[in-house]
Amino acid sequence: MFRNQYDTDVTTWSPAGRLFQVEYAMEAVKQGSAAIGLRSKTHVVLASVNKASSELSSHQKKIFKVDDHIGVAIAGLTADGRVLSRYLRNECINYSYTYESLLPVGRLVVQLADKAQVCTQRSWKRPYGVGLLVGGLDESGAHLFYNCPSGNYFEYQAFAIGSRSQAAKTYLERKFEGFMDSSRETLIKDALFALRETLQGEKLTSSICTIAVVGVGEAFHILDQETVQALINEFEIVGEEPPADEAAAPDQSTGAEPGPADQGTPADQGVTPMDI
């Protein structure tokens, strides 16, 4: 995208019918670190990459609990994300107070999208620079939505946003057809694999990622670091290729699958030993 004479105000159309400020806001989402969501019939998993700006600092919070049945993962301007999370929490709690019942996810995202749209049509405002993956449960099942700065929202089986999210999307596109019937554990495993794809070879550990789950009978909560590290170890995700689908089935039956480490160094098998 290049600068042009129609991109100063959000209230200026380009001759091609584009609002450049809105598109620039969506660029901000692409610059943020990755966030991933997947859902089955009964569970939704949100995952995010948390990069601290330096070793001395803590990392940015990117996953927020909105209510017992809804959580969001954000990518982009985290300050905008925090403010929108407060709005979402307010809407949920007001609905609960009036109706003693959980706000349906579909209605929450429409309210959020309408709020984002306002910022695309006021000369004294700017669009929110954050994309939100809203995952939640209601009477009609488990839902995953993506709300973008333009005020659009879509429902997804699985989605990834932020930097290098295309790698995660490629992985998800291969696997998504099985997600509806996935178990909770398979869903988390697929989230971790998808997250690893965005790291481009960097080692996946629980200190650089956050995983959150919501499901039938399970309130939205963020998994603690030990649990996540144990899951990473169990799925042997660290630096390994994701297993082919046939191999995936035996994973869930017992605990850790026999790791490559048990068999010695597989990389050396079939290779002629060094002559030295």
């Binding site: 107070y97 009036t98 109706y99 003693e100 579909g106 209605r107 429409v110």
Partner: protein, 247 residues
Amino acid sequence: MNVADSSPAPAMNNLLASNADSQRTLYPYVTGTSVVGIKYKDGILLAADMGGSYGSTLRYKTVERLKSVGKHSIIGASGEISDFQEIMRYLDELILYDNMWDDGNSLGPKEVHNYLTRVMYNRRNKFNPLWNSLVLGGVKNGQKYLGTVNMIGVHYEDDHVATGFGNHLARPILRDEWHENLTFEEGVKLLEKCMRVLLYRDRSAVNKLQIARITQDGVKVFPPYSLKTFWNFNAFQNPTVGAEGSW
């Protein structure tokens, strides 16, 4: 209301000043009497007579005090009829906006009951109540719900509820004879037993009642009918025999 006795706090002055007084509810004028509601095997049954009293005069005899609310609920009201009509306007608007989402979600009886509770309690806090006692029942996704809320915001759910005199005359009968697996016919018979006692003993009751039913399949408000009563007690025969010249 004994407003003359107390010295009102400054914040209350505008509520209790004479011209503001005419803007808020002080007494009811046209009132309905008891509503009785029970859960039965397939859903909820409500019963109420069709009387609208004007003080001690039984003035209006075709007042529909049972109404459906959306797909999943029915409401019965006692107390000020005009306030009930206002509540129906609020509820119809609520259901309309709920339908306008057009998203497959719908407000169930629990949600409607809680919404009403908020409305009633908030009005009570402003010293301008909707002068009603309401029964709200319904079925959603196979789950039966029956609750009540009144003008001061007191609200609760139960297997059988009643308003006004129904609490004193009908609830004891229901406590003895209600059980979870009433058929429709048994439920109607039980309600008629309660309504008959109310007809004999409640001065504001009229002998023209309606039954409303809600099940998973929908709402039906039945056409009005009257109960058979018996007045041929010996004590009522020749009433003037002990007081010649009276009528």
